[in-house]
Symmetry: C2
């Protein structure tokens, strides 16, 4: 007997609110983005535009790839390249009214999902950790 | 009605076999480890010893932290430091006879889990992705 209510559950109380989410802006230089990534300790973080809309995600991999020269990492170039130029524009998003079932399916291939409201403003992220923790509570 | 069989299920057919797992050895120099990480695209990978036992995990973060000087990343030092000197010795492990329920609980805080046999030899890894995919199939 599969329990439907879990799959239809709202995701509202699972969201990491935007104030707690490390993020960068499109026009930030890469040295700023690298600092935020190193300080936060996160693998990948969202990239927002001036209207607080999600435009993509960035990780240390994209930043290092962009300055990897033949001999060395050309760190001095970090200040002259913007986040927008190297970020990954593919980032999973769901609306605040999405069901838990939809979030579960999306999380299979994505460590975190960006949550937007009906005006497409960034509300926060949903992580695999919070999805796994809820499923664990459901079965125990 | 909670379905017990899922929590008691064996993890055997969920394991990514050791041949397919990118890994490095304790005595490898960091330039080798950085290359394996960049080429594989993975955030963190297991570190094994000569007897094929798991000793820890390593990511780009540990490697870059170790060569971050005042002004720049001192890439030339990468060849002189071993993986053992900078790796994170904390890595979750389970035995091949662990239940799915135990793997689910462990995966809440760890993106992947190392699986060992009864002689502690490395068998492979269990990823959050495979745990989420199985749960998704269970409810759909
Ligand atoms: N400071 C910390 N404290 C406790 N545990 C930590 C931690 N940093 C990482 N972890 C653990 O490691 C997992 C993978 O983190 P990662 O940074 O690769 O991957 C993260 C990161 O890319 C992103 N993320 C999570 N929280 C974030 C935040 N507040 N701001 C920006 N990005 C975040 O979502 C991915 C999945 O996160 P999730 O929580 O499922 O999974 C996290 C969590 O279980
Ligand atoms: N080449 C690729 N093809 C398809 N999807 C990819 C991929 N690389 C990464 N992903 C996706 O991104 C997730 C996070 O990968 P990450 O490298 O941060 O974190 C990975 C990595 O640290 C480790 N891992 C996974 N497979 C590995 C392997 N074959 N060898 C070594 N480490 C592996 O386990 C973590 C969790 O893996 P998981 O599969 O749950 O979750 C993966 C997967 O959903």
């Amino acid at each position: 007997l599969k329990n439907r209510p879990l799959m239809n559950k709202e995701i509202h109380d699972l969201i990491v609110s935007h104030e707690k989410v490390a993020h960068v802006q499109l026009q930030n230089p890469l040295d700023h983005a690298l600092l935020v990534l190193i300080k936060s300790g996160y693998t990948a973080i969202p990239v927002l535009d001036k209207d607080y809309r999600v435009q993509g995600q960035i990780s240390k991999t994209e930043i290092l790839d962009s300055i990897l020269g033949l001999e060395r990492l050309e760190m001095e170039r970090l200040h002259d390249i913007t986040v927008e130029a190297v970020m990954n524009p593919k980032i999973p998003r769901l609306n605040t009214d999405a069901t838990f079932g939809k979030a579960l399916t999306t999380s299979i291939s994505h460590p975190f999902i960006c949550i937007e409201d009906e005006y497409e403003a960034f509300v926060g992220i949903l992580t695999r950790r919070s999805i796994l923790a809820l499923i664990n509570r459901y079965f125990k």
